[in-house]
């Protein structure tokens, strides 16, 4: 039952990634959307990065995408490793390890998204 729940969340995370990574691609790679790049030039110019970091909606989408992508990616890694037929004790340890790694990375990414809101605009 737990494995079914893990797998169902894996599929839900995939759909969330499709939506939010698609949005992320549009914001980052379609230079015609000058609204997200007020400084002009590359999307990675500091002024553009600082501007986007202060946008609450974008920060929210980053955090959702971060959580979904971490879950989807780490569950995918777990599935691949488990197919190699490790022992049950290894499977249990590996699952706990992935939860820890995932939660730590989620905390780092979320902190970055929230802390970056206070960046000084260089416009």
């Amino acid at each position: 039952m737990r494995e079914t729940a893990y797998w169902t969340w894996f599929i839900i995370a995939a759909i969330v990634i499709l939506i939010f990574a698609g949005l992320h691609m549009v914001v980052m790679h379609l230079s015609m959307l000058g609204v997200f790049n007020p400084e002009g030039g590359a999307v990675t110019n500091w002024g553009n990065v600082a501007f986007r970091s202060q946008n609450q909606f974008l920060a929210f989408t980053y955090i959702i995408l971060l959580g979904a992508a971490l879950y989807h990616g780490l569950y995918g890694l777990r599935t691949i490793v488990f197919e190699l037929g490790p022992k049950k004790s290894f499977q249990d340890t590996f699952t706990v390890l992935l939860w820890i790694v995932g939660l730590v990375l989620f905390a780092i990414g979320t902190y970055a998204a929230i802390a970056a809101k206070s960046l000084e605009l260089a416009l």
């Binding site: 599929i11 990675t44 990616g73 995918g76 022992k87 499977q91 780092i108 970055a112």
Partner: protein, 145 residues
Amino acid sequence: MDNKQYDNHLGIIGWLGGGRWGVERYLYILHRVTGLGILLFFLIHIFASSMRMYGPETWAAAMAILKNPIFKLGEFFVFVAFAFHALNGIRLILIELGLAVGKAEEPIYPYKSSLNNQRPLMVIVMVVVAILIIAGGYNTFFGSH
């Protein structure tokens, strides 16, 4: 989860042969390889994009590293992996939901494989993937940045 070890267990070697499953089996392998590649990129991306917390100098230093031509090529490979993994993933979800696999038939010999019913979807998806890769490649190497 059943932990029984089978004598015919092939491990990673078993991933390399498509056997009678044909092209869909190789797409399954490619799905996993691209998934692992995207995961690696994503972990690096979390740390690289977090550099903005430390101010414009640190950010500029991090971006200077990423301007190396090797990273440009890497960016294209990430796009290729992402385009394939996303569209093939949509195909897998559709099939999982029982769509695009044809109607259920009574199993009468000679049996028909549902793979034949799934194949048109696979061909359409791979054509779209190829178009995206060409467009992405053009944008990466010849587009204005």
